[in-house]
């Protein structure tokens, strides 16, 4: 692993010691593999209108045109036109589209990883409806294959392969659960052979937000559900999904799904994590090639169900709040009403940001950016948008429903020396359960 810079000064990391051409070919092949019909349609359709730039927090806060979303796809596009597009044979015959160069891939590493949170805001701005963020996610597959990934993300990749989680070894999981239970005085279920609900977790909950572990338990106990945590399949955050490491993505998904099926669960509850939702709710079935025999829901959806159906009663807080919509949950996941229903159940008066719901601004840390220290300065810049929104809202609380967002926002506030607490919807619900 070596940190390097390109001629233009862009930082890039390299993994492994393969020859450049080999990397390049690996990237090209992986790019090529990804072009199904939808991706191809989108690769054909760009008008070069630049509307997507205005949607991206990285462009908006830096003013640097290289952060224009569609620009982040350049190598991917080039591969498409050379190998897949309807005119690809002509391009190759006349040498009209050159092969992607290793220099280009190096240059684009930081744009594809540091400069994109996969938030999907650009998709909403594009008049052609090009799903740019989905394409950037696909472009990461080739970058990963080429061994051109930020070292920190690659480190998490290797850790997840070794431990089953980027945060903590599987062997420690049961202890962490038991500790959290003891600390907060909540009876925990761990590794029960059969249960209706299997609860999964996100890395932040194994380190900083351990209270979340007992909060879920408290709620599930409250409704008298049959539930369990499982050492065999606990990690829902999917670093393979984020890094573009497809085999790892498959492995991590199969781990939690296979385990839940083994236990006979009818529902797999995902933690307060946006990308976990993306990887499991929408992409899990792709590895099985068929519909899965269980329900996969996000914590927020679960809470909303309990609150609106009256299965849990909450103490009314009677205070004001604003809400950060996690991109993967709301814009890319369609879970827009659920968190609002829960806030209402909590008696919190929600002041919406000017851009909220599907138009919300990203926290700036998704898509692995928060873990990629190299991107810190960029992330702190992007944070300024959120900070202004929160300050303008002038509310007593600031709530979100994604642990990664919460960490990003907390770090951003800390960096700004801005005293602002970021709260979790799950925690609020657990803390206000009516007996």
């Amino acid at each position: 692993m070596t940190a390097k810079t390109t001629a233009s000064g862009a930082a890039y990391d390299v993994q492994g010691d393969r020859a450049d051409t080999e990397r390049r070919d690996a990237a090209m092949q992986a790019f090529v593999r990804d072009f199904a019909r939808t991706a191809a349609i989108h690769m054909e359709s760009c008008l070069r209108c630049g509307m997507c730039a205005n949607a991206c927090h990285f462009y908006v806060t830096t003013g640097d045109p290289k952060y224009t979303p569609i620009n982040k796809l350049r190598p991917f596009e080039q591969a498409y036109h050379r190998h897949i597009g309807p005119f690809a044979p002509i391009y190759r015959l006349f040498g009209l589209k050159s092969n992607v160069s290793i220099e280009m891939l190096q240059e684009w590493e930081s744009l594809i990883y540091d400069g994109c949170t996969l938030c999907g805001r650009c998709t909403l701005a594009c008049p052609m409806g090009i799903d740019i963020s989905e394409l950037i996610k696909e472009a990461r597959h080739g970058m990963y294959k080429a061994g051109l990934v930020p070292d920190r993300l690659e480190l998490m990749d290797r850790t997840a392969k070794a431990w089953g989680s980027p945060a903590s070894p599987s062997e420690d999981f049961a202890d962490i659960i038991r500790d959290a239970g003891e600390e907060h005085g909540v009876p925990m279920n761990i590794d029960l052979p059969k249960a209706d609900y299997v609860v999964t977790v996100a890395p932040a909950e194994l380190t900083e937000h351990t209270k979340a572990l007992s909060d879920v338990a408290k709620i599930l106990n409250k409704i008298g559900a049959s539930w369990t945590y499982s050492t065999e399949g606990f990690e829902a955050s999917n670093i393979g999904y984020i890094n573009g490491d497809l085999p790892l993505q498959e492995k991590m998904t199969r781990k939690i799904i296979d385990n839940a099926i083994r236990i006979g669960a009818h529902t797999l509850i995902l933690p307060e994590c946006g990308h976990a939702y993306g990887a499991a709710r929408w992409e899990a079935a792709r590895w099985y090639g068929k519909k899965l025999p269980l329900r996969i829901i996000h914590m927020t959806e679960f809470l909303a169900e309990l609150v609106t159906s009256g299965r849990i009663k909450l103490k009314k807080m009677g205070e004001t709040t604003c809400f950060h919509d996690p991109c993967q949950l709301v814009r890319r996941g369609g879970v827009t009403e659920a968190p609002r229903a829960v806030l209402k159940g909590l008696g919190l008066d929600l002041t919406e940001f000017e851009d909220h719901g599907e138009l919300a601004w990203c926290c700036g840390g998704g898509g692995g950016v928060v873990s990629n220290v190299r991107a810190d300065p960029l992330r702190f810049k992007a944070f300024s948008i959120k900070r202004k929104q929160v300050e303008d809202a002038k509310t007593q609380h600031f709530v979100t429903a994604c642990g990664q967002c919460r960490i990003t926002l907390t770090l951003g506030a800390k960096h700004d020396k801005w005293d602002q607490k970021v709260e979790s919807l799950l925690e609020l619900v657990a803390d206000h359960l009516e007996d």
Binding site: Q29, A30, V32, R33, F35, I84, G85, P86, F87, P89
Partner: protein
């Protein structure tokens, strides 16, 4: 030369006053849109003009041009001018025929060497040695070359002579060509039209008679005075065109209300002629006024514009088969490209499997 040898003198003899004649001169001048200063010059020049020897050659033609020029609706000054010029040879009009006629031509050429004007109607067949039109055993081409050699100027009358016209229309079986392609180096005027407007003919002649030179010509050697504007430019139906009111058929309400004829094939917008201003039959009417679109008869290749009733803005060829073929070819290419892309992907997936096996 006797004083009454002039045109004015001739007119006087026929009972036309000098005043009336000068009026006619200014009429011609105004038709040709000459500047005021030139009006008097033309009238005076015309009055003082002397008999001009003219040799009229008819090749592959239909006599329509001659009809147009000579069979005006009533005896007019134009006729008188024709009477005045010395038509030393005209197949249709002259009384003599055969060898005697040819003799008359040779005599006129000899007598007026370098001064006579050759008027031609009809095009010249060039294919197969020009055998498709011969007179007295000589091909049109031979006669033309022979006659033009000592001429002062050549006037091609009618679209056949000017641009090849009907004989040259697709598939042009006789290899017909325009006169201009055969008379290099001589002053040359084209009075196109099928047939041409008589006034365009007499106007041009009057100009030559008065000033002894050719009038100003356009890029197709047509007098600008008569061919400077399109029919459409001066068409009285133009306001309908601009308002978007069109006849869709010859018997619909639009046609009855005199709407623009563009949709039923009028070629007025690209046809340079003065029908819309000078009109026909002594200014009575012109085709568009009578309810029919302009055919474009004064333009080269007007027979081959895809049909007189095909609107100007439509393609000339039949599109159906070409487009169907293109669609099929496109589909085939598309499928081919997609298959090639899929094989690329398969190739990659196979290499992935190999990797897995190695592990």
């Amino acid at each position: 030369m006797k004083p009454d040898d002039t045109l004015a003198g001739e007119m006087q003899r026929r009972g036309v006053s000098r005043r009336a004649f000068l009026k006619y001169g200014s009429y011609i001048a105004s038709l040709m849109a000459l500047p005021p200063s030139a009006v008097e010059a033309l009238a005076e020049g015309l009055a003082a003009a002397r008999r001009q020897s003219v040799i009229w050659l008819s090749f592959q033609e239909c006599t329509g041009c001659t009809e147009s020029l000579t069979r005006s609706y009533s005896p007019t000054l134009e006729n008188l001018i024709f009477d005045f010029i010395s038509l030393d040879y005209h197949e249709t009009l002259m009384a003599v025929s055969g060898e005697a006629a040819e003799e008359a031509r040779r005599a006129a050429m000899a007598a007026n060497k370098g001064k006579y004007i050759v008027v031609v109607d009809g095009s010249v067949p060039m294919k197969d040695g020009g055998v498709y039109a011969t007179i007295g055993g000589k091909t049109n081409h031979q006669i033309l070359e022979d006659t033009v050699k000592d001429a002062f100027a050549v006037v091609a009358v009618g679209t056949c002579a000017a641009f090849g016209g009907l004989p040259k229309a697709n598939p042009n079986p006789t290899g017909a060509v325009a006169i201009s392609t055969l008379v290099a180096g001589k002053p040359m005027i084209n009075i196109s039209g099928c047939p041409p407007i008589p006034e365009a003919m007499t106007g041009a002649l009057a100009y030559i008679l008065s000033f002894g030179k050719l009038p100003e010509l356009d890029h197709l050697s047509r007098p600008k005075a008569f061919f400077g504007e399109t029919i459409h430019d001066r068409c009285y139906r133009r306001p309908y065109y601009e308002r978007g009111e069109f006849a869709n058929a010859f018997d619909d309400a639009g046609a009855r209300q005199g709407h623009c004829l563009f949709k039923v094939g009028c070629k007025g917008p690209v046809t340079y002629n003065s029908c819309a201003t000078t009109k026909w039959n002594g200014g009575v009417s012109f085709p568009i006024q009578s309810g029919h679109g302009c055919l474009g008869c004064s333009e080269p290749e007007f027979w081959d514009q895809g049909g007189f009733y095909r609107p100007l803005s439509t393609p000339l060829g039949a599109m159906g088969p070409a487009l169907a073929g293109a669609a099929l070819a496109g589909a085939a290419l598309g499928v081919g490209a997609a298959l090639s892309a899929r094989s690329h992907q398969k190739h990659y997936l196979a290499s992935l499997d190999k990797e897995k096996e190695k592990e």
